[in-house]
């Protein structure tokens, strides 16, 4: 330990997880499918484009919402409400017993409002673009705080809520924001993570396609192939991952089950290019997260990689990883090979699927890795089949995004 030991009042722990992924609507189901090597990518019709590949979630929307809420709200709102409600239940927290003004909602998003705006433009196109047919729901649906705000209305939470716009680093960024607000004493419970409704906006697909970064393959389930020689781009997915975060002292006081400690994090900016990553900054980001956790790279047992299956992005992340973890014995895996890129939810979901390894030492693989690209060679890259290791005590979760935003979160087993 190179850093002072923190007081329990400023250590932040995860006590609940709510998620929906294309291959699981609970952590148990998600993990089971990750260990079994079961992806779930579908062909869906996309306005103006024909068929595209997408990771689609099938959680029960009406479990926590009325039909009118679903009709008037957004898909991101529904995902967030489902995940927040599941997370609270998982944490054994009932809002009835909480001071609702001391609960904060911090949700990472890659983008918001594209879906709703595209839908309305399409709608008025049927009326000769007469804007009197534009819905009055447009503004509440598209304000950037929408998914977090929908959670507070649905659950009656009166503490702060907002979204954290952080491109595809958003899942981590939401989690980091929640931890920071707990450390500042702004709230006692943080509902934090990320969500994505991006599979409903043609603009995201068309944009990736124009960039040459949209995956294609005969089989949708083999289209997302991080590190593989034949990878050719991203499969877009929807999803959500929200965590209940509490200060360790509070969690202990109420006898909560502690899933992991948010031990460290790093956030920085490439300051180089809007789209192309920068391995040097990624190295700095990971090192900062590890140092803040009071650890060295040799203490990190598992890295959940960001790799999205673009030719350049994967190779550059691997270059950064080799520099940080040379000779450390760290294992590496990737979740996008199963569910595609869940955008704002990616960081939160990818971390969640790996948390059970803190208990059982089993690391889920990255799949669709038939021919490793030499540029993506990593020692201990867990591919095709799960690996049982001696123990997993610390996980580093990478999430990077456009405009050069990098994030890394370190979670540890908590005694």
């Amino acid at each position: 330990m190179r850093v002072r030991v923190k007081d329990a009042s400023e250590r932040v722990v995860i006590t609940g997880i709510g998620l929906t992924a294309p291959n699981g609507n609970t952590l148990a189901e998600f993990r089971r499918n990750l260990l079994a090597g079961r992806p779930n990518i579908q062909r869906i019709p996309m306005r103006y484009m024909g068929e595209v590949f997408a990771g689609v979630c099938n959680f029960d929307v009406l479990k926590y919402q009325k039909r009118k809420e679903v009709r008037n709200g957004t898909r991101a709102g529904s995902v967030a409400i489902y995940c927040a409600s599941e997370a609270l239940a998982d944490a054994g927290l009932s809002l009835a017993g909480l001071d609702r003004s001391r609960v904060g909602v911090y949700i990472g998003i890659t983008e918001h409002g594209n879906v709703e705006t595209e839908n309305e433009v399409y709608n008025i196109s049927k009326f000769n673009y007469d804007t009197k047919f534009w819905t009055h729901h447009h503004n509440p649906r598209t304000v950037a705080n929408n998914p977090a705000g929908e959670v507070t209305i649905n659950l009656g939470i009166t503490g702060p809520h907002y979204t954290i716009g952080a491109a595809c680093a958003a899942g981590n960024a939401g989690l980091i924001q929640g931890a920071q607000m707990l450390r500042l004493g702004e709230v006692d419970v943080a509902i934090a993570g990320g969500v994505s409704e991006s599979i409903q906006t043609f603009g995201i697909f068309a944009g990736f396609k124009a960039q040459g970064a949209l995956a294609h393959h005969d089989d949708p389930n083999q289209a997302s192939r991080p590190f593989d020689r034949d990878r050719n781009g991203i499969v877009v997915a929807e999803g959500g991952g929200l965590y209940i975060l509490e200060r360790l002292s509070d969690a202990r006081r109420r006898g909560a089950r502690i899933i992991a400690e948010v031990a460290g994090y790093g956030l920085n900016s490439d300051a180089t290019d809007a789209v192309l990553p920068n391995p040097e900054r990624q190295v700095e980001c990971m090192n900062a997260a590890i140092a803040r956790a009071g650890l060295g790279p040799e203490d990190i047992d598992l890295v959940s990689t960001h790799a999205t299956a673009t030719p350049q992005g994967d190779a550059q992340e691997c270059e950064a990883l080799r520099r940080v973890f040379a000779g450390c014995g760290t294992h590496f895996n990737n979740t996008k090979s199963f569910i595609g890129h869940a955008m704002g939810a990616a960081g939160a979901l990818e971390l969640a699927g790996n948390l059970p390894s803190l208990l059982d030492g089993i690391i889920h693989p990255t799949i669709n890795l038939d021919n490793l690209d030499p540029a993506c060679e990593l020692p201990n890259l867990v591919a095709q089949r799960p690996a049982q290791v001696r123990r997993v005590r610390a996980i580093l979760n990478n999430s990077f995004g456009m405009l050069g935003i990098n994030s890394a979160v370190v979670v540890t087993a908590c005694e």
């Binding site: 009325k66 009118k68 009709r71 047919f133 009055h136």
Partner: protein
């Protein structure tokens, strides 16, 4: 009333064209079908035509805007803001809207 209940279950399939509307009952069916879309959680089977809609089901001002929008989209009918009060009950909807359908 049985017919109305059926209608609310499948609003899209059974919706009438504006030209087919000739009576107050036709207008009520149309308004009920729109309410079923806008307020999908509500049970509309026992709605009293003479009673205020907002007293009988959960319907806020945003929902009224949705009803006005659906009349505009589906039937080209405009309800100016000054006339919103005339949509208070099913009966008053029929009274107010029928001349607009017959126009």
């Amino acid at each position: 009333m049985t017919e109305l209940t059926e209608l609310t279950k499948y609003p899209e399939e059974k919706i009438m064209t504006a030209a087919a509307v000739t009576t107050h009952e036709d207008v009520k069916k149309i308004v009920l079908a729109i309410i079923a879309e806008v307020a999908p959680d509500e049970d509309l089977s026992n709605l009293k035509p003479e009673g205020r809609l907002r007293d009988q089901i959960e319907l806020d001002s945003m929902d009224f805007l949705d009803i006005v929008m659906e009349l505009r989209k589906k039937y080209g009918i405009e309800v100016p803001e000054a006339d919103y009060g005339k949509l208070a009950t099913l009966d008053s909807c029929a009274e107010y809207l029928l001349p607009k359908f017959l126009k």
